[in-house]
């Protein structure tokens, strides 16, 4: 991997001065990934926090070519750009090697844009799709998504007198994408930047469709102080809730294993969206949440061992 000094000397793909919240993880994810690119990059982006905070006309924070079309079609948009590149390159109208990256939140990736993404991956475009997964529709005001963890309070699945937030467990999208049998799929967290940048570098070195699912703490939607973004991203990994792994040509590999997994409630406690879980009467729910983290963690371990 490039050293931090080398990375710091590279041209910024996303300038400061954008309108993301203080402590927002999304621009951190974008910078960590795009700094790993050693060739010209073109970005397509789904509607969402990242797009609206970085491109308020007449300003743009993007120092690389950037296209936003709509919410549910980042997969199709990056397909179209890459197809035009392949066509023009074949005809000799473009000679340089270029990289094509799509960014979508969990709304644009897990839910409304899932079909478009699945189609793009199946077709084998030479692209990297990055989900900045902040576990709810943050841009429209913290509504639940299929990436929202069970028990989280959101504005469309709030904790109330009889309900304890979202009632369903989250979708395991990384495994779903792995089932597309594309060359490279990985799960990462901005809390472990070296791991994330390594994965981005690897993705950029591989031809064909690649997918990175990056957990991105959201200070507003998760309810914590802006300075805790990185720590919360790290703790998600240390509890085993968000294991860091990659699937390269079908081979699963844990890229980081915490020496001793911390209790899941240590992570839950850091965020307001889970506060109600610690009221008396929710002990059983907390137990079930821990069991599901264990089950899924062991499932990944099992896949990595085989």
């Amino acid at each position: 991997m490039a050293t931090l000094k080398q990375l710091s000397e590279r041209k910024e793909p996303l300038s400061g001065g954008h309108r993301a919240c203080a402590g927002c993880g999304a621009p951190i994810v974008v910078r960590q990934i795009l700094l790993a690119a050693q060739k010209p990059v073109v970005v397509a982006c789904a509607t969402g926090c990242l797009e609206v905070t970085t491109t308020i006309f007449p300003y743009s924070a993007w120092e690389v070519p950037f296209l936003h079309v709509a919410f549910e079609n980042a997969g199709a948009a990056i397909s179209g750009i890459e197809a035009m590149y392949q066509s023009l390159k074949r005809k000799g109208k473009i000679t340089e090697d270029m990289l094509f990256v799509a960014f979508g939140g969990d709304g644009g990736t897990y839910d409304i844009g899932f079909q478009s993404l699945s189609g793009a991956l199946e077709r084998g475009h030479d692209i990297l799709y990055v989900c900045y997964d902040n576990e709810a529709y943050m841009n429209t005001g913290i509504q639940r998504s299929s990436a929202t963890p069970r028990g989280a309070s959101t504005t469309t699945a709030p904790a109330g007198k009889v309900k304890q937030g979202k009632e369903q467990y989250r979708k395991d999208l990384t495994a779903v994408i792995a089932a597309h049998h594309i060359p490279y799929v990985a799960q990462a967290s901005l809390g472990y930047p070296t791991d994330l940048i390594k994965k981005a570098e690897k993705a950029f070195s591989i031809k064909g469709p690649k997918f990175l699912n990056v957990l991105q703490p959201c200070r507003l939607g998760w309810g914590y102080k802006p300075e805790n973004t990185i720590d919360i991203g790290k703790l998600a990994v240390d509890t085993g809730f968000w294991p860091l792994y990659e699937v390269e040509n079908g081979k699963w590999k844990m890229t980081f294993t915490p020496k001793e997994r911390k209790p899941f409630k240590d992570w839950l406690k850091t965020q307001d969206r889970f506060r109600h879980l610690f009221k008396p009467g929710n002990e059983q729910l907390l137990k079930e949440l821990q069991e599901e983290v264990d089950r899924r963690y062991n499932e990944v371990l099992g896949r990595c061992a085989s």
Partner: protein
């Protein structure tokens, strides 16, 4: 010029082969499916050097086409009905990004109930999406219109997407003798495409599709109307140039026996072909009947239409889609509004017809012209909006 037998779909696919777009992203849908299939054969046989993206939906077809065009090259797709409706979200984005995408669109009734046959409800639902809309009477026009649409859409004064429509099955699947241009002539006619501000020019990075709020959105929408107005001249210029090359003449609309006509109908698409014969028969009987076949619906050629219609006693506007308690169908409400400022104007009546592929034939057209004669004689329109060919 080679004369060959082609269906409407084959004719449009043939035009696409000659255009040889850099990217095609398409999804099959009846009755436009053949266009995607025929083009796939062109690609498989090396007849085109297009990058063909076999997308998983029409939404992705239009999204990938928009992105490909923004990247910097010619990009096309083709669709019909539900497919166009699914693309609906992206159509105004294509025009707002000023991408000169050309799309064959085979007119088919919108669900529900589900139906695969012709009406114009799909195209009309998207009439205000900032797309140029050109209707075709037959396979020859479908071919000619696709080639001309490239020149119109890509013109510096225009830079708007364009859809060229045919009537589902009636034209799309009907075999006719058509004349095509030689490949070299077609290539010379459409010319080399030089994209404006391509996204792939990474040395000059552009942000496209930015968030555009109260401060600028309005100023960015107004030029679309301006470009649409300017496209009128371009449509005529391109039509003239095309006529020089092929002998086939194209304007905003075609007038049939309109010089001294007292009663006339105006219609879009294949119905004009049938009405042509009806007018001929009526003229033989000494009835001063005329016909206007409207080719270009967007931009709406308001002044030119008013000029062509102003001397009529009675005009029937035929709409192959309904406004469901609007002031008639979409063509009717626009034409009637266009005539408003005339001091003496024709009486105007609307016939909604042919929904879901219901046949429009000589008998129905005879009835309509007989109605018009009665209205002319009575001096009044009893019922503004009527249904033709409907069991009631």
């Amino acid at each position: 010029m080679p004369a060959i037998a082609r269906t409407g779909n084959e004719a449009m696919a043939e035009a696409m082969r000659q255009i040889n777009p850099d990217v095609v992203a398409a999804y099959p849908i009846t009755p436009a499916t053949e266009i995607a299939q025929i083009f796939a054969n062109f690609e498989a046989n090396g007849d085109v050097d297009t990058e063909y993206v076999r997308v998983e939906s029409e939404h992705s077809a239009m999204s990938a086409t928009v992105a490909a065009a923004a990247a910097g090259g010619r990009a096309m797709t083709a669709t019909s009905s539900q497919g166009l409706a699914l693309m609906g979200e992206i159509l105004p984005i294509a025009s707002a990004l000023r991408l000169p995408i050309v799309m064959p669109e085979v007119n088919r009734a919108l669900s529900g109930p589900i139906n695969i046959h012709c009406d114009h409800s799909d195209t009309m639902m998207n009439r205000d999406a900032g797309w140029i809309q050109i209707f075709s009477e037959n396979a020859q026009e479908a071919y000619d219109n696709v080639l001309q649409a490239i020149r119109i859409a890509e013109h510096d004064d225009v830079l708007l997407p364009a859809m060229v429509t045919t009537d589902g099955f009636i034209i799309s699947h009907c075999m006719e003798k058509i004349e095509t241009m030689e490949d070299s002539d077609a290539k010379a006619f459409i010319g080399e495409y030089k994209p404006k501000n391509p996204l792939l020019d990474y040395k000059n990075p552009l942000t496209l599709g930015a968030l555009d709020l109260q401060d600028y959105y309005f100023e960015h929408k107004r030029p679309i109307a301006e470009a649409m107005h300017k496209s009128k001249n371009v449509i005529l210029e391109v039509g003239k140039e095309f006529e020089k090359k092929t002998g086939r003449s194209y304007g905003f609309f075609e007038e049939v026996s309109m010089e001294d006509a007292e009663i006339a109908i105006i219609a879009l698409g294949s119905t004009a072909g049938t009405a042509r014969m009806t007018v001929k028969n009526l003229r033989e009987k000494g009835i001063k009947a005329g016909l206007i076949k409207l080719r270009v619906f967007r931009p709406f050629p308001e002044a030119e239409l008013v000029n062509a219609l102003k001397k009529l006693k009675v005009l029937a506007v035929l709409d192959r889609s309904d406004g469901y308690a609007a002031t008639g169908g979409p063509l009717f409400s626009e034409i009637r509004s266009a005539l408003y400022d005339l001091k003496t104007k024709p009486m105007v009546v609307n016939y909604v017809y042919g929904l879901g592929g219901r046949e429009m034939n000589f008998e129905l057209l005879d009835e309509i012209y007989a109605d018009l004669q009665k209205i002319a004689k009575d001096g009044k329109v009893d019922q503004l909006v009527k249904y033709s060919g409907l069991r009631e």
